[in-house]
């Protein structure tokens, strides 16, 4: 994985333990909002990424490069052989909402131009990222791209799990990526949900989210195929539900979040009190944190320990579900939880207090939430082996 607090899983863990915040002013992306708002920007230029990854193909975008960076780490860590990668039963399921639209100005020119055209003509759509990975690794198995806004990569993890369960794939490489773009910055800003300060998830005074960028990939296999291999955790439950309330906000009662969390619990066949920790969606918008709190109270009554890593890296959109899946797995592997940063006092209506210090904690089942525009809500449960 790669995020604003580290280029590898290990670097991310150290940063989380130390309560490091990677949300800063923009230094690489040029935008009018560069000096006005902070972002979870990865401080490696696109050119440096190209060099580091030896990605010399024409038309490769920052989004694809971040994906490749995380993909490579996942492949290396799992020691997947090149035969396994190109095998017809290895699926690649990725998520992106920005795709090549990080090149806002190039896209503007190509969409409006009479002739010529840049090298990026086939790189703008969301699918371009996974097609790049597929071509680079010469993969032959099923490939898919999912876009359910901010819950995209949670759904990619679900879809990959289901491909394996149904016998359509032996293994699935699942994940998500998004890079910062003028497009999303201006979009979220027009909706008045970007904070000019560093975000404060679950705080009464929260002012909105900070956008971030990043990528994460995970490798899923059936339990019987993992003998002798390093296993981090089990995907034990998942559920996708629609809030069906509004195109860009959640209902007060939080039906979508409630049903997603409940469905995941039911699938994992767990009691409410068996969830040890919730990696909350916690974007720090007025709407999300209030609704997510309400839904957690509705479902759990006594809400388990919870926190939001959006306070470390910002909201990485389609990467968030996969990055936070890795964080949830780090929770389980090391039996530790990381602090939600910048929190001051509870939301009056719900009174919930997130974890604020790094601590060791016995953890068996971690729930991870991802809720997106168009009411797309998904929850995942990861369990110790």
């Amino acid at each position: 994985m790669i995020s604003a607090i580290g280029n590898t899983v290990a670097e991310n863990r150290t940063a989380l333990q130390e309560g490091k915040c990677g949300i800063t002013s923009l230094s690489l992306l040029s935008s009018k909002y560069a000096g006005i708002m902070p972002f979870g920007e990865i401080k490696i230029t696109t050119e440096e990424l190209k060099k580091k990854l030896n990605a010399t193909e024409p038309g490769v975008t920052r989004t694809s490069l971040l994906a490749l960076h995380a993909f490579n780490e996942a492949i290396n860590d799992s020691k997947l052989s090149s035969e396994e990668i190109i095998s017809f039963d290895t699926a690649l399921i990725g998520a992106s909402t920005v795709g090549g639209m990080c090149l806002t100005d190039e896209l503007y020119n190509d969409a409006n131009k009479k002739d010529g055209g840049s090298e990026y003509l086939s790189s703008y759509d969301c699918a371009s990222v996974n097609i790049y990975l597929q071509e680079r690794y010469k993969m032959n198995g099923p490939v898919n791209t999912i876009n359910t806004a901010c819950s995209s990569s949670a759904n990619a993890i679900m879809y990959g799990s289901r491909l394996i369960k149904s016998g359509r794939a032996k293994r699935a490489i699942v994940g998500g990526v998004d890079s910062l773009a003028k497009f999303t910055i201006n979009g979220f800003n027009a909706l008045h949900i970007l904070s000019s300060d560093i975000c404060t998830p679950f705080d009464e005074q929260r002012k909105g989210l900070n956008l971030g960028e990043g990528a994460a990939f995970l490798i899923l296999e059936k339990e019987e195929d993992t003998i002798g291999k390093k296993i981090y955790a089990v995907v034990s439950g998942y559920c996708n539900s629609n809030d069906s309330f509004h195109p860009s906000s959640l209902s007060d009662e939080g039906d979508g979040p409630y049903l997603a969390m409940k469905g995941a619990l039911d699938m994992a066949n767990l009691r409410k009190d068996e969830i040890s920790f919730i990696n909350a969606h916690g974007t720090a918008t007025e709407n999300n944190d209030a609704v997510e709190s309400t839904a957690m109270l509705r479902l759990f009554g006594k809400v388990p320990a919870f926190a939001s890593t959006k306070s470390n890296i910002g909201h990485t959109l389609a990467a968030a579900g996969a990055i936070e899946a890795v964080y949830s797995i780090l929770n389980l592997t090391h039996q530790e939880v990381y602090p939600s940063l910048h929190y001051n006092r509870p939301i009056t209506k719900t009174g919930l207090v997130p974890v604020q210090t790094y601590q060791k904690m016995p953890l068996q089942h971690v729930m991870s939430n991802s809720f997106g525009f168009a009411g797309n809500c998904s929850s995942l449960i990861f369990s110790t082996i």
Binding site: G117, A127, M139, V143, T148, G187, L259, G375
Partner: protein, 348 residues
């Protein structure tokens, strides 16, 4: 098992409600645009705010969702739904130099806006997903629906595919050389021996379930692959047919995604050569044009043909008189690198 119970189609031809596919509607400057219905069931206030992809997507779904209240979820495939609003918002960003912008184009620009809108209109809190994998977006949606119905055969899903031709994505694909330079008619379409195709769009919805009773067709099997090698397509198709065709049965009809681009003809020829000589071959891109979810139009046509046992003359590339069309193979490829085989059969 995935059974298709209802299907609706808004396309450049007369395919919606009062279907007549014998009369061809011609492309205008190499663009085939959908014939939009009047949308009497959508309140005008809501209709005005809908982006085109959402509008045609909702329009295609409405006849189904209006009369059927037990939908368990929405599974959508689209490559570029929201493209028009996406570029409109982009134009705002550039023209107003990131000034004060209105968010409506941004909210409508996300490809999952249609699935969200359908959930909203039907107050449906079930499964809701949008697959956007370019030329295999609809195919992945099919696989998703198949997996859902395998686990819950009693469920009903709305499986849908939507893509629009905006001036912008037309321009991007034109610059990439995917459209013909010379203006062509439906009749000339396959004889041009030049590069590129014509652009198209559609919104198609299927009501699918695992229950066989009263089904129009069965979507029996699907396979997708990313390659540019004909050899691999050949091998994979042979394996696909061996695995999925019941013993003693053959493909009666090939619906081919041939699109007038002479660079891609080799793939379609490869597929034709693998199949029995005694097979009818039909084409459809002169009706719908080329776009990422064109295979959904072929699946819709398959349902029509299985129901009526009639194929319009203009679709036929090769006709073998036969008593009954039972097994249809749809082969499509998008831009020469994304391929799919879909087997659709009649349930007697």
């Amino acid at each position: 098992m995935l059974y298709i119970h209802q299907s609706t189609c808004i396309s450049p031809q007369q395919t919606f409600l009062d279907v007549n596919i014998d009369v061809l509607h011609e492309p205008v400057e190499n663009k085939l645009k959908v014939i939009e219905p009047t949308y009497e069931d959508i309140p005008p206030g809501i209709l005005r705010r809908m982006a085109k992809a959402v509008r045609i997507g909702v329009g295609a779904a409405l006849p189904i969702i209006k009369n059927f209240s037990h939908i368990d979820g929405f599974i959508i495939g689209t490559s570029n739904a929201g493209m028009e609003d996406c570029i409109k918002f982009l134009n705002q960003i550039i023209q107003y130099e990131e000034g004060v912008l209105t968010p409506s184009n941004f909210v409508q620009s996300t490809p999952n806006a249609l699935a969200g809108q359908l959930g909203l209109l039907t107050k449906n809190k079930g499964y809701n997903i949008t697959h956007v994998h370019r030329g295999l977006a609809f195919e992945n949606a099919i696989v998703d629906a198949m997996m859902m119905l395998h686990d819950h055969p009693e469920n009903n899903y709305l499986l849908s595919a939507v893509d629009e031709t905006s001036a912008y994505n037309y321009n991007i694909d034109r610059l990439s050389g995917w459209y013909k330079k010379e203006v062509v008619t439906c009749e000339q379409f396959y004889q041009t021996n030049s590069t590129g195709s014509i652009s198209g769009e559609s919104a198609i919805a299927f009501l699918v379930s695992g229950e066989k009773v009263n089904a129009t067709a069965r979507l029996a099997a699907i396979h997708t692959l990313h390659t540019e090698e004909e050899m691999l397509i050949e091998k994979q198709l042979q394996y696909f047919l061996e695995k999925n065709l019941p013993a003693g049965e053959k493909i009666d009809l090939l619906i081919s995604g041939e699109n007038g681009d002479n660079r891609l003809l080799k793939y379609y020829t490869t597929v034709e050569n693998i199949l029995d000589d005694n097979i009818t071959i039909a084409r459809f891109k002169h009706m719908a044009g080329e776009y990422a979810t064109a295979s959904a139009f072929a699946v819709w046509l398959s349902c029509q043909i299985l129901q009526t046992q009639y194929i319009p003359l203009h679709m036929l590339k090769k006709s073998i008189p036969q008593s009954n069309t039972k097994n249809i193979l749809v082969y499509n490829n998008y831009k020469g690198s994304q391929h799919s085989f879909i087997l659709i059969t009649k349930e007697n």
